[in-house]
Subunit: 128 residues, 2 copies
DNA sequence: TAGCCAGGGTCACCATTCGTGACCAGGCAC
DNA sequence: GTGCCTGGTCACGAATGGTGACCCTGGCTA
């Protein structure tokens, strides 16, 4: 892909697949939400579950495992009763915070436009 | 979420779901690849298919339909034989180019780190 | 003493989506 | 006539996303 110096050149063949793989990691909606939330600081499992409205326990577990595997978050277990597990961004995770936040800002800013486009598309499809 | 002025405040409850929905649109790997490719200019269906190595016709069609529906790309049909269909970013799509490119750059830059983290995680898991 | 809750998971099971390969139309070259 | 090119669509299996139930252990309440 060779991004970085203005225009992109055509070097997809090998990078493309790898980059896509990494983007798919970030791409899933839950990962983004977890990262944004952890951007504020360490959180416990149940804090995250409450903060990320709509996520199920299983999905949160899976998402966190994936992020841990990729070195984006750390998982600290306190073997108390009831158990307590803290999650936090690693340094690598924090570097991701910036581009991800950029996307989130974009999403918020352009939400109305997208909604309008969808409605227009819907109308065009039904009238057809 | 109230991103935008430095620190985030706790306003997830209503925004969160909507933002997540929009992110999931951008989040899927194919959409990102299409947007990045169209950032260079108008492309035909089969150009895209060739450029985005690994995508199937069906997935490309679905992805493009989704992006068109959300007002991010335009679809122009030339009823020639053989048929010809051009795709291009809308103005809205171009505004998305910047944050998405940011992500792509991040992915490329940190790919080795992630790979290393994965290998370390793998080793930790197998030795356990 | 029986119930019930919290916290962090896992498991079985369904629904949705992903992805592959086949097929289509219509004219052109061989 | 056979096959190819383009931009799709359709049917079908594979993978993934998501839900609700259950687990464990200790403390609190009734």
């Amino acid at each position: 892909m060779s991004l970085g110096n203005g225009k992109m050149t055509r070097r997809y063949d090998d990078d493309c697949v790898a980059t896509r793989e990494i983007l798919s990691l970030v791409g899933d909606k839950w990962s983004v939400m977890v990262i944004v939330n952890l951007g504020e600081g360490t959180m416990r499992f149940s804090d995250l579950k409450r903060a990320i409205e709509g996520i199920s326990q299983r999905m949160l577990t899976l998402t966190l495992r994936g992020l841990e595997r990729d070195g984006l978050v750390t998982r600290t277990v306190f073997p108390t009763i009831p158990p307590r597990v803290d999650y936090a961004l690693t340094r690598l995770g924090q570097t991701l915070l910036e581009p991800v936040t950029g996307l989130a800002v974009w999403a918020q800013r352009h939400r109305p436009e997208i909604q309008r486009a969808r409605e227009a598309f819907q109308r065009a499809a039904t009238s057809k």
